[in-house]
């Protein structure tokens, strides 16, 4: 799905990420581990096409991503990043989950069906008309997950999705995340939990000081 070659991301003189080569295969689940400041969020941001690398090349589905020739929006619409503390827009749960669908021109019955399905998956059936800002922290996390799932992205990038959530939501998210590769979705998630690769049946990518130092296959 991705091939990264000689990717460097610098902030001034500070090198946040320096990866010689990294391949992420389609339909697999990867856990991205490393200490704070290892470059995990930087890498996710690059994979989400939100932030360009300072140098190096990215290939997505075999195509070289060239920001100088054409917008990256078409790539961005295939990939969704879910932040550790996601932002919910003002308005209803429905407005939030519908946002990305509207952007993609999905309307009417199809939009409605996708919203219902996504809310069902995260256990929030019946929450469509609730105000997003009045939800509890766990509910807000679930809405953000539903908002990402409704888009049926080719790649789902998760920035510590299991941090700061209650036990019930953790169990739910683990089940949902583990089921995604079977549906063809590639998942890359950052985590501090060393048990996650095993529990989620995924591969592990380890970063240290911005460098990709280890990859374990299960």
């Amino acid at each position: 799905m991705y091939r990264l070659q000689s990717i460097r991301k610098c902030y001034g003189s500070n090198v946040a990420l320096d990866i010689e080569e990294l391949t992420i295969a389609e339909g697999r689940l990867y856990t991205l581990t490393g200490a704070n400041g290892a470059g995990k969020s930087t890498l996710l941001s690059i994979l989400a096409f939100l932030s360009p690398p300072t140098s190096g090349e990215i290939f997505y589905a075999g195509e070289r991503v060239d920001r100088n020739h054409g917008p990256v929006e078409e790539y961005r619409r295939k990939v969704t990043l879910l932040h550790q503390s996601p932002y919910l827009f003002g308005g209803s749960v429905d407005d939030n989950v519908a946002f990305g669908l509207k952007v993609r021109g999905i309307r009417g019955e199809e939009r409605r069906r996708r919203i219902d399905e996504a809310l069902d998956v995260v256990g929030l059936r019946g929450f469509r008309d609730r105000k997003a800002r009045e939800l509890s922290g766990g509910e807000a996390q679930r809405v953000a997950m539903a908002r990402a799932l409704a888009l049926k992205p080719e790649v789902l990038l998760l920035d510590e999705p299991l941090a700061n959530i209650d036990r019930e939501t953790t169990g739910l998210f683990e089940t949902v995340i583990a089921s995604l590769p079977a549906q063809g979705t590639t998942v890359v998630m950052t985590t501090h939990d060393p048990d996650h690769p095993g529990r989620l049946n995924g591969e592990s990518i380890f970063l240290e000081g911005g460098r990709h130092v280890l990859r374990s296959l299960r």
Partner: protein, 228 residues
Amino acid sequence: MDFLASSFASALRLIGSFSPDVFDAVRTSLAVSAGATVFAALLGIPLGLLVGLSDFPLKRMVVTLLNTLMAVPTVVVGLLVYGFLSRQGPLGVLGLLFTPTAIVIGGVLLASPIVANYALASVRGADPRIVPTALTLGAGRFLAVGTLIGEIRFGILAAVIAGFGRVISEVGVAMMLGGNIRGYTRTMTTAIALETSKGEFAFGMALGIVLMMVALIVNLFLNLLQQR
């Protein structure tokens, strides 16, 4: 105290009797303030957003300049515009001096920096996750900025209302550029200044009450919107 109480009672009677002089001044004030606010919003909101959302050399200087312009005395703005619109000025041929349009021009210059600064403050205070969230959900750059504006809409609305407050409450520009012509360019503030100097304290107080009522209504409107 008797003087104040009797003046207040007379002021209420003037308002209740629909005095044409009072209502002419109110109408003119509202018209020029609304006109100036619309143009100030059209200038100030994009300017504030542009400065807030982009990085460029001398940005700090531009922000300082905008802050400084907020504090420019109204008479200085009046003097400057007077220079342009007076018969000998570069725009004197347009014959705009001592017309409501001249007050609107001065009002735009007064209110634009306020609207721009409030809009800038709203952008700076906005949640930094808004634009990345919109982008990662597939929005283009324009839609992401549009989403940001939607999320900070109350700050933008406050910017417009602050601009309106600046224009409707000022005296210098209206006096110097409007000339305080009865029934034409006499606003509430210039009427208050004139009538009070003539000893018509009750008349001034009547207009003061109306001015406060307008401020109250505008703020009630803002609160109502925020509660929705």
